[in-house]
Symmetry: none
Subunit: 400 residues, 2 copies
């Protein structure tokens, strides 16, 4: 079922959809036979909502496939992430509100530490402070031949590098070896249309190395994930929804902006601040995406107890959403990040969908095994949007 | 999600995957409300493994579709059996280790009994002994015009017929009427590129009839399933796995060889002998496919009790596999063969997937209804391989 098919069925309605995405929500027990993070968390509000919801487990891309944030989010926004692809650099550039031109190339950059032998000793340059990173980034912004290089700090060691010029293909390998203890790689063109880009990017990197020579631990840069703006069909037009995104972290703000959502300003950075933003803007939009980052960070850190606490924090805030009387509520995640694995994983993600006319499963529990018993089954995450639209009475009959 | 997508995500790991396939495993109760074969069998080892596994039901091709061994196996090996097709003749030829040339055409043949009126009275020629079959096959190997016909006994009445020459298309109908009481059919070309093949095969059959005239009950041959070597992408390269196949029956050895697995020699023909082969070769491969034929044969014979006993035999051998400490274990089947139907059927196949980081369902029972409650849901059998690879930590993230 492609997006055009769905778009042709859209009808207007006075209904609101709220999607709460806890990043990396899905988990695993610490011990065989134990409970996963979400099953361990005390979540009376989510459990009560689950009882009135349809439950299921979402797969971001397909069985067994672990995803990065980009494809994980595209999927919950209804886009097939195999068909619609985003480079990491593009996400970073859009996330920091860089005004991209149609031919600009964006890449993800890292400040890193390199030793005298040219070996990368710390891919994250000791996570240098954001302000120091900004100062160094200014040094690197330059022009080589007819091509401009903009270097912008995202946060700490993380950079967005935008290359502006003509004839710049993006079929390139990255210079980031993705591990410490080895030298950076040369950037190579995979197609002839990208040879100019490769040549200039290698010059740019060489120049950066020289400029940063005495700036240890940020004495080198690594570059990867080159891409043009993908020009995806826009979420608000596809689905007929005035759509707002509430996220603190730039990557998620970037993804939302790439699909045309309006990214709202959040005063503060706590989940409660995000709920305040939701309340303030409730009357002005039909669809809200609210992103919670700390579930994923706790999972990546292997901190089971902290992930549990973040889930409990969201649970405690849920009544503020429900007080707004949303017509459809989805609570789910973009992928799993089990604390026991300290990384994203392939496990399907617990998901609930509440609406007035949803066929509720009557399972008064929100967790991995509860969702495995739910009537949504194990479903592609991209199927959530059509189900949400149907429950929001925003899809007409097919075949009429 | 196609094979190329998956192949691009493969990373190396020091992990081992074992796949135990009980042919025709899925069943049905003898009486409504009763238990199926697997549910009836006493399987303490499988039940204990199920408790630590994710359970589900696999569909070889799609809902309602009953399969032959070829597509059933391609699917569990991760290939879409609608896209990747094998002729039955090719399976037989590869299974008996016939050295096929790239342009060779292979067909499945049967010795059969025919009466004076030209009506087939026994499509299996009384299952003549293999040795007698071999003697007769020798009579039939011949050359017509510039084309060679090799006739090789597979077992009893079953033959592989290989046609070697140039300009031999394979768009042909078979001569086998697939039931007794009617005459054989003429072989017809369905496309013009196959007219030469049709003409020569009909001449070959006419010649065989004359040579076998006094050999009742093997006084005729039936031919079907013409095909070239399919040249599929190879399993070991696709998935980065040194892959071994352990099977006694030639058909399954043939399928495994067609996808590039190394087919191991089994001393003896009992399931226990297959487990001995597994143990002996454990250190040399990353992936093991172990095939159990007798579940299917018992099902085909309508022998419910015997199918139960074969399952119990496998259950008793399971600890020998587990003692090898496999990282991922799949126990399933290529299709269902309910004894009550005496044939392959469309019913999804009970399947368990055990691994250290699998999200276990905690269902301590391996059976049709237990698997219907499992978190793998009802899934295409071809999705098992990506899930197995993920659990073997052999897939990297998508979208990095």
């Amino acid at each position: 079922m492609d997006l055009q098919f769905l778009q042709d069925l859209i009808v207007p309605a006075q209904t609101k959809i709220a999607m709460i995405i806890m990043d990396g929500l899905g988990g695993l027990p610490l011990e065989p036979g134990g409970k996963a993070e979400l099953e361990t968390a005390r979540t009376p509000n989510l459990d009560a909502l689950a009882a009135q919801s349809a439950l299921g487990l979402t797969m971001p891309v397909g069985p067994g496939i672990t995803v990065e944030s980009g494809p994980g989010h595209l999927s919950i926004f209804g886009y097939d992430p195999i068909q619609y692809r985003i480079g990491r650099g593009m996400l970073e550039a859009v996330g920091i509100d860089f005004e991209l031109g149609p031919n600009d190339v964006a890449a993800r950059g890292n400040f890193c530490a390199m030793d005298a032998a040219g070996v990368v000793t710390d891919r994250r340059a000791g996570r240098i402070p954001t302000q120091a990173s900004r100062e160094l980034a200014k040094l690197l912004t330059t022009k080589i031949d007819d091509v401009e290089f903009f270097v912008e700090t995202v946060k700490e060691h993380r950079l967005a590098i935008i290359v502006r010029g003509t004839g710049l293909g993006v079929a390139l390998t990255g210079s980031d070896p993705l591990r410490n203890g080895v030298p950076p790689l040369p950037v190579r063109a995979l197609k002839s249309d990208s040879e100019k880009t490769a040549r200039l990017v290698n010059q740019f990197i060489k120049r950066a190395r020289s400029l940063l020579a005495d700036k240890h631990p940020a004495n080198m840069i690594l570059v990867r994930g080159f891409d043009h703006h993908p020009g995806f069909p826009k979420f608000p037009e596809l689905f007929g929804l005035r759509a707002a995104a509430i996220a603190v972290n730039s990557t998620y703000r970037g993804i939302a902006k790439l699909v045309g959502m309006q990214v709202l300003k959040v005063e503060g950075s706590a989940v409660a601040d995000e709920f305040t933003t939701l309340e303030k803007n409730w009357n002005d939009f039909d669809f809200f995406y609210l992103h919670v980052k700390n579930t994923d960070l706790a999972g990546e850190d292997g901190d089971f107890a902290r992930k549990v606490r973040v889930i409990e924090e969201v649970d405690a805030l849920l009544p503020r959403l429900l007080a707004l009387k949303p017509d459809v509520v989805i609570v789910g995640g973009d992928h799993s990040t089990p604390a026991v694995l300290k990384s994203h994983s392939w496990h399907p993600v617990p998901t609930l969908l509440y609406a007035k006319y949803v066929r509720a499963d009557g399972i008064a529990e929100f967790g991995e095994r509860a969702c495995a018993r739910g009537s949504l089954g194990v479903l592609p995450a991209k199927d959530l949007m059509p189900i949400a639209l149907a429950n929001a009475q925003r899809l007409t009959k097919f075949g009429a």
